[in-house]
Amino acid sequence: VLLKSSYGQVVQKAITHAELKIADPTKVLGPPPGALGTRSKFETPVKKASDISSRTPLQDLFGTITPSDLHYERHHAGVPVIDPHSYSLTIHGMVDKPLVFSLADLKRFPSVTRIFFVECSGNYRGGKAEMTPQEICGLTSQSEWTGVMLSTLFREVGVKSKASWFLAEGSDAAVMTRSVPVNKGWEDAMIAYAQNGEAIRPEQGYPARLLLPGWEGNTSVKWLRRIELSDQPFMTREETAKYTEGVKDGKIRQFSFVMDARSIITYPAYPQQLQKGWMEIRGIAWSGRGKIYKVEVSTNGGKTWQDARLQDPVLDKAHTAFRYLWEWKGGEAELLSRAIDETGYIQPTMKQLTDARGQDMGGYHLNPVTSWLVQRDGKVLFKSEK
């Protein structure tokens, strides 16, 4: 039935995609413009959730931006509900003028927008052949973040010259805390209130969070309510009992903040079924120490390596898409990628990591080269090193 109305009005307001069974879409009017777009019903990318985290479906993504609702999650006591009108950020301790900022205050300061990744330092899983990129290292995601530089707020409160660390505290039920060297605060720490063009999502710290570009995700405290300047670290549970890793001689490495360079091939990868012919091997590479300088790809298990093409612009501390043309003529193959960052760091193998750190290195800061085995029948399997 047609509704008469002014120019151009269309009529099936109530019909959803799912109800439409379209033989020839050129013959049937579709739904009119709406208030919010949708995903195609043929596309259902989802995070893979455990009790304590959920992982970004890297194998389903293109380019470098992670859709906000697919950003990985890691929280220690669930996602708090925070009313933006009662939200505040208090900065105190070794400062001249302790101040309380409302969200509106934060938004009036000079702002900055920057694309970079956030990665959990526990971002490695192995152990079987049937693993997707999401399962192996889906605890990394990238957004366009907007907020105020922490240095701008430091200037406002007058951070004392003797202050060497600050405590960042969240207002989730874990009241999450981490100690951060003041230098990082002056350098490039950001208090972000927006993500990918809109208000930051609750799972990512709504209404405002700390962001320490290139550093392990846990330090980028979400739902940030307080910053205390100090002349020593606070030795919170997360920086002592957690997020530290065994190294040789029974030692435990602490304050291992930076995420080392890494890459993963996301196509082809398990569970894709390969077809013969030309294709583009694709993946992402990133480094917490700066820009990706180069990504090398091997299709023969590391015997020879070729340079992949990097997607411009290559940004600092950002997921960088890489691409490499390959013709699969059938037969077995082993696909690897390794990232090299601008410091000259070369993504290591698992063996190199174990050699350097010892057998008790635990699960943090593991960034081994990932290897995919292509079988004769086109099956692609993860070659787990553990």
Binding site: V175, F234, T240, F255, G344
Partner: protein
């Protein structure tokens, strides 16, 4: 790199002064030197009672089977090879007070009084063989404890460049 503050006013005049009571309300942290520890005290005997009421369901005891599916990590274990526990991994006793006060019990975080936190902290330290049953934990004694694992902690030595560390 990201800000060009050349033309900025001395202050943007945004935000309001934080009063001492504003700060006191949320100043929850405890440093290794004891800064932040409140008045109050407690020992392991009192702490054990709390533990058995409010913690044991999720954390078990030394006699809990290794196969038990616990909601929380094992806190008390004298068995070797039990992974990272308070006795063999935690470098500072103050961290225990700080963490329990802010985050535990998991289902009712922030519900313990300072006195109770001292007590349960004492119990966990005693159960992990750091202190005795009668030792009183308070703002004076707690920072003085030297935890067994403290000497194992070293700063990060990774620094970019070709070497894998």
């Amino acid at each position: 790199v990201y800000t060009d503050s050349a033309n900025w006013p001395a202050s943007f005049g945004l935000g309001r002064p934080a009063s001492s009571s504003d700060i006191a309300k949320m100043d929850l942290d405890v440093r290794p030197d004891g800064k932040g520890l409140p008045v109050g005290e407690g020992n392991a005997i009192a702490g054990k009672a709390i533990y058995l009421t409010k913690c044991v369901a999720c954390h078990g005891t030394d006699t809990t089977s290794g196969d038990a599916k616990l909601l929380g990590p094992v806190l008390i274990s004298t068995k070797p090879g039990k992974g990272k526990t308070i006795g063999n991994y935690w470098p500072y006793a103050t961290t225990l007070f700080d963490y329990v006060r802010r985050a535990m019990p998991y289902n009712e975080p922030g519900s313990l009084t300072n006195e109770e936190v001292y007590q349960v902290t004492a119990f966990l330290l005693q159960a992990n063989k750091i202190i005795g049953e009668q030792d009183v934990m308070n703002a004076k004694t707690l920072p003085k404890l030297v935890m067994p694992a403290q000497k194992r902690f070293i700063p990060d030595d990774r620094k970019g460049g070709p070497e894998v560390r």
